[in-house]
């Protein structure tokens, strides 16, 4: 059954996303997800983008009905939560984290756990780079001798270009693992690059989530369940997942091309 959490703070992050600071303690493993429930609207999966002793942060992109409703909430509203669920990241030092767009959200807790690693954060333009002015994040990165490289499609901040182009330059034999989260088209390219260089990849995927506990079959990707076997998958799993980078299922269970799924989901 859902636990109830109060919204303590709402932070506008980008023109299309907000962060909610929710009260309460959560036992959470890196990369897991939670189901947020807004009674009368819907219940959807999200990453925890920062965890503290008695509060946590969830960053939400305003896309569909649910996320638009959630970004219109006021401080003090109670929302329901199930989870955390799923299988997450295994942190290793000397790695690279590739985060595209909102994919930066689940990367924050990972940054706390890895050392001597590089974060490649990409977005379409400067205003869409999450947590760009977050001093906590800057401190966090410095503390573990990590560094961050920004890139934007339009060159308005950092390097002009895609995360994958930066990764191509930075990946080398010393890279222990490449972690990635963001648009699946990007993830697929990151994975292919890792395969070519024979470096382990851990990727966080998303599919249409209903039960979140491995029974309804809504989030299948090949023979894997994103909610239970994932959302973070290893190279070994990704190699076998026939639908990865190609197909996803709509709410009805209809199998469609990935692009159709994402445009459906964003309605």
């Amino acid at each position: 059954m859902q636990t109830i959490h109060k919204i303590k703070k709402i932070i506008r992050e980008t023109p299309k996303s907000v962060s909610l600071i929710l009260d309460g303690k959560i036992t959470y493993q890196l990369g897991q997800f939670i189901m947020l429930w807004l009674p009368g609207v819907d219940e959807k999966p999200f990453a925890i983008s920062y965890l503290d002793k008695d509060e946590f942060r969830v960053t939400i992109e305003e896309k569909g009905n649910f996320t638009k409703a959630i970004s219109n909430l006021i401080i003090g509203t109670q929302i329901g939560l199930r989870g955390p669920y799923g299988h997450g990241f295994e942190p290793k030092d000397n790695s690279i984290i590739v985060a595209g767009g909102l994919g930066m959200a689940p990367a924050i807790e990972l940054i706390k756990k890895v050392k001597n690693s590089t974060i490649i954060q990409g977005a379409k333009s400067k205003e869409f780079l999450l947590y760009l002015n977050d001093e906590n994040l800057t401190k966090l990165i410095e503390k573990n001798k990590n560094k961050i490289v920004h890139c934007t499609d339009d060159g308005s901040f950092g390097i002009r270009g895609f995360t994958t182009q930066v990764l191509k330059k930075l990946i080398n034999k010393q890279t222990k693992t490449v972690y990635t989260c963001g648009p699946e088209v990007m993830i697929k390219k990151v994975f292919e690059l890792c395969e070519k260089k024979k470096i382990e990849c851990q990727a966080s995927l998303e599919r249409m989530m209903k039960c979140a506990i491995g029974v309804c079959g809504s989030c299948v990707c090949g023979d894997q369940l994103v909610c239970k076997d994932g959302p973070v998958f290893s190279s070994e799993q990704l190699r076998k997942m026939k639908d990865f980078g190609k197909y996803a299922r709509l709410k009805s269970g209809k199998k469609v091309a990935l692009s159709e799924y994402f445009s459906y989901r964003d309605q």
Binding site: K44, A212, S252
Partner: protein
Amino acid sequence: MINTTFCKIELQSPLVLASGILGTSVDIMNRVAENGAGAVTTKSIGPIERQGHNNPSVIEIENGLYNAVGLPTPGYLNMGDELKRWKEIKVPLIASVYGSSIRDYVHIVEYLQKYKPSIIELNISCPNKDDGMMFGASPRLTSQLVRAVKAVSSIPIMPKLTPNCDNIGRIAKECEKSGADAICAINTVQKTIIHPELKVPLLAYGKGGISGPIIREIALEKVKEIREAVKIPILGLGGITTGEDAIEMLKAGATLVGIGSGVYSRGIDIFKKVNEEIKQIMKKEGYKTLGEIK
């Protein structure tokens, strides 16, 4: 030791993946087969594309699950290569079908013939659809439906019955008289649960059905009632999560035992685990075949 026959179909295990659980794709059903299921059931296939209910649609409760997924389906004409790929499934396949009218069921059952599922399950008992249960609770409509479907099917027909009625034995009898080849029971038990703090229904649909160990005794009682009423074989399910549970279901009169919510509590390899537990109990109690368990 645990192989069995059901409607002349050979199975390596009496355990069946229940409809509504994981049966969205050939790949995931094959994974269930590799994990020890004797047969697998598809998610119920309906007449037209249907999204099902909003979330929360499935939720954990004490001793079980509570759901109103609302029969999502791409629609039988909209299943892409899934139907053609059914032949890749390594164990007998049960195709579950639902409709809003007898005509719906007939069309779908007729269409599915060429894809040769081993059995067709008629889901006439989903509590989470406004018009889904009228068949399952009415002996007359159930009888009409089974006759109509039998007329177009050379594949065995197995209606899935609801426990949310007081005459399950009579409905089963009507199914048998109308030509049904087997009975599947039970579907979830209807309930409304309210969130204790927020005072709103736990599920988006408002009401739903409970499953898992919390309904096991209801399931056993209903299967016994059906056993007394009919001679055709029964796929018994409801709250089965261990070998001991499965044996009890067989003793209640079932030939096959379905597992659904158990996938949540014990994982996808629950079928393997329960197969082993059944074998151990059989050894201990001196059974050589499943048929001896009565």
